[in-house]
C-alpha cells in the first residue's frame, strides 16, 4: 500500500529561532491509519503537524500527499487544506464566527458549496460531534469540551480525508477527553486517516495503531505502540514514561505470571489474562494432587 503522506528529511527553523524546531524528520503515514505523534513539550510535534497542510513550509526536505510533493501556491494550498483538515489545540483560536452554525459553515461556504449543501454539511457535522440544537449559540457561552467539538465539526464539515489533531485532549476533563477520543475512533473507523499529537502516553498506547516518538525535533522511534513504549531507555530519552498498563503487563510477563505476547490494550483484558493464568495454574496443581 502506498502511504498517503510521505515526509522526507524535513527541517524547519522558526524565523528568529536559534535552533531548528525540527530537523531530518522522515516518516510515512498510511491511508486509514491511526497515528499518534508522541513527545515531550518542545519536541516539534506541532511544528511538524503544521507542515502537513502547508501552514508552515519546510526549509528543506519534501512533504508528499498521495505521492505528489506539496505546492505552495494558493490554489494548491486550498485544495490540500480541504483534504487535510487541521484541528488546533486551542479551540478559541479556531472558532471565528459569532455562532456555532456560522462557524461550522465557514469552511463549506469558502469551498463554494451551494447553500443547501452547506446546510446539510453543517447539520451532519454537528450531528457527528453530538451538538444538535447548538446552532444559534455564541461560542463564548460554550464550555471547553463544547468548543472543542465545534472546532472538530468545523473541520468535519469540509469532509477531509486526513484529520490532524494538535493535542486533542489538552485541558479537557477525563470524561470529555474520553468522548473526544471516542469521536476520533469513530472518524478513523469510517476510513479517514487520523493523526494526533500528544504527550499522554496512556492515551496514545490505547488509541493508536502506530506511534511516532519525537524528541528535540527528531524522530526517535516509530512502530506499534507496544513496541515503542516497551523500551525504557528510549522513553527516558524522550522524557516520557511507559504507560502504566503496559509497564504492569511487561512486569507480570517478566515474572512469568502471564504470557508475554500480545500486550493487553485495556484493564479488562489484562485482568482476564491474569485470571486465566491463575485458573490454569490451579487446574495444573489440581491435576498433580489427583495423580
Amino acid at each position: 500500500m502506498t502511504p498517503l503522506l510521505t515526509i522526507e528529511n524535513v527541517a524547519y527553523t522558526y524565523p528568529g529561532g536559534q535552533t531548528p524546531a525540527i530537523s531530518g524528520v522522515s516518516m510515512e503515514i498510511a491511508a486509514g491509519s491511526k497515528t499518534a505523534l508522541v513527545g515531550p513539550n518542545g519536541a516539534g510535534k506541532s511544528t511538524f503537524l503544521l507542515m502537513l497542510n502547508g501552514i508552515l513550509r519546510p526549509d528543506s526536505g519534501v512533504v508528499r500527499f498521495s505521492g505528489r510533493p506539496l505546492a505552495y501556491d494558493s490554489k494548491s494550498l486550498r485544495d490540500l487544506r480541504r483534504r487535510v483538515g487541521f484541528v488546533f489545540q486551542n479551540p478559541d483560536v479556531q472558532i471565528i464566527a459569532p455562532t456555532v452554525e456560522a462557524d461550522v459553515a465557514f469552511g463549506p461556504v469558502n469551498l463554494g458549496l451551494p447553500p443547501d449543501d452547506v446546510r446539510r454539511a453543517v447539520r451532519d457535522a454537528l450531528d457527528h460531534v453530538g451538538l444538535q440544537g447548538y446552532e444559534d449559540r455564541p461560542p463564548h457561552l460554550l464550555s471547553g469540551g463544547e468548543k472543542k467539538r465545534v472546532a472538530i465539526a468545523g473541520i468535519l464539515a469540509m469532509d477531509p480525508e486526513v484529520l490532524v489533531f494538535d493535542e486533542p485532549t489538552a485541558s479537557l476533563d477525563p470524561a470529555t477527553s474520553g468522548e473526544v477520543m471516542d469521536l476520533l475512533d469513530d472518524l478513523a473507523s469510517r476510513g479517514r486517516t487520523v493523526l494526533l499529537s500528544t504527550h499522554d502516553v496512556e492515551l496514545a498506547y490505547r488509541w493508536a495503531d502506530s506511534v511516532i516518538l519525537m524528541g528535540r525535533g527528531r524522530v526517535l522511534a516509530r512502530g506499534a505502540p507496544e513496541e515503542v513504549f516497551s523500551d525504557p531507555d528510549l522513553l527516558t530519552a524522550a522524557r516520557l514514561r511507559s504507560p502504566a498498563l503496559l509497564a504492569l503487563s511487561n512486569e507480570l510477563a517478566h515474572r512469568g505470571i502471564i504470557d508475554r505476547c500480545p500486550p493487553p490494550k485495556s484493564m479488562a483484558e489484562l485482568v482476564d489474562r491474569i485470571e486465566r493464568s491463575i485458573s490454569d495454574h490451579a487446574s495444573d496443581r489440581g491435576g498433580h494432587e489427583r495423580r
Binding site: R82, V93, Q94, A97, A102, V109, L111, D136, P139
Partner: protein, 258 residues
C-alpha cells in the same frame, strides 16, 4: 461569566419578536425623540420603552439603571453647561460674583435636550437589551449591507469576548501577585496590562489568519440565515405606538415649562 448586554439580549422575554421589528421600533423612536420640538414626547418614549424593557423583557432593574446611568450622566454634564451659556428670556438665577446666569430660554433648551437624550438612550437600550447581535447580522445581510462590513462586524463581535477574557486573565494574574496594592503599582500594573493586551492582540490576529487559511478562506464569511417573521399584531401595535408618540410630539411641541 461576564454580565454583558449581549447576555441579556439573548435571554430576555422579547427574544421571540422579530429583530427587524425591534430595530425599526428603536430607530423610529430615536428619530422621533431627536426631532420632537417639545420635551413631552421624548419623555413618553423614555417611560414607555423603559416599561417595555423592565416589564415585558424582564431585564433586572439594577442592570438597566446602571447601563442607563452612564450615557445619562454624560448628558447631564453637557446640559449643565448649556443651562448657563444659552441666553434668551427673563433671568431666573444669577451666580453671585460671577457673570453667569440661567435664563428661561436656557432652561427650556436644557430640559428639551435632556429629554431627547434620555428618550433616545432608552430606545437604544431597548434594542441593545432585547436583540442579540447574531440576529442583527442576519438582518443586515437581508437589507443588503455590504458583506465586507458584516464580516468585519462579525469578527469584531467574536473577538470582543476573547479580548475581555484575555484582559480579565491578565488582570487576575496581576492581582494574585499583588499588582494593584498601591497607587503607583496600580499605574504600573495597568501599563503592563495594556502592553500585554496589545501584544496578545497582534498574536491573535496572526492566529486568526492561520485559522482562516487552514479552513480554506477565500473571502466569504457565512452569515447565519435564520429569520423570524413579523407577526401582524406586533407590527400594528408598533405602528400605533409610533403614531401616538408622533401625535404627542406635534401636540405638545409649543409647550414650554418655564
Amino acid at each position: 461569566m461576564y454580565e454583558t448586554l449581549d447576555g441579556y439580549a439573548r435571554t430576555n422575554r422579547l427574544g421571540s419578536i422579530s429583530p427587524g421589528l425591534k430595530l425599526f421600533l428603536g430607530l423610529a423612536s430615536i428619530l422621533l425623540c431627536t426631532s420632537s420640538p417639545g420635551p413631552i414626547a421624548p419623555l413618553l418614549v423614555a417611560v414607555s420603552l423603559s416599561a417595555a424593557i423592565l416589564i415585558l423583557a424582564r431585564i433586572p432593574p439594577r442592570v438597566y439603571a446602571c447601563t442607563l446611568l452612564i450615557p445619562v450622566s454624560f448628558a447631564m454634564m453637557s446640559v449643565i453647561v448649556i443651562l448657563f451659556i444659552t441666553g434668551g428670556g427673563p433671568v431666573l438665577f444669577e451666580v453671585p460674583f460671577l457673570p453667569l446666569a440661567i435664563t428661561a430660554g436656557g432652561a427650556n433648551l436644557a430640559i428639551l435636550l435632556l429629554a431627547r437624550v434620555f428618550g433616545g438612550t432608552c430606545a437604544l437600550l431597548f434594542v441593545a437589551l432585547t436583540t442579540p447581535m447574531t440576529e442583527v447580522f442576519a438582518l443586515l445581510k437581508k437589507i443588503g449591507v455590504p458583506t465586507v462590513l458584516i464580516d468585519l462586524a462579525m469578527l469584531i463581535y467574536r473577538f470582543i469576548f476573547i479580548f475581555i477574557a484575555e484582559a480579565d486573565q491578565i488582570y487576575r494574574s496581576q492581582v494574585m501577585r499583588l499588582g494593584y496594592g498601591r497607587f503607583i503599582e496600580s499605574v504600573n500594573s495597568l501599563g503592563m496590562l495594556v502592553g500585554a493586551l496589545f501584544l496578545r492582540t497582534i498574536d491573535r490576529g496572526e492566529a486568526l489568519v492561520l485559522a482562516m487559511d487552514a479552513r480554506c478562506y477565500s473571502g466569504t464569511f457565512s452569515t447565519p440565515g435564520y429569520s423570524r417573521s413579523v407577526s401582524p399584531r406586533s407590527f400594528i401595535a408598533t405602528l400605533i405606538y409610533l403614531g401616538t408618540v408622533f401625535a404627542v410630539s406635534l401636540k405638545t411641541g409649543s409647550l414650554q415649562f418655564i
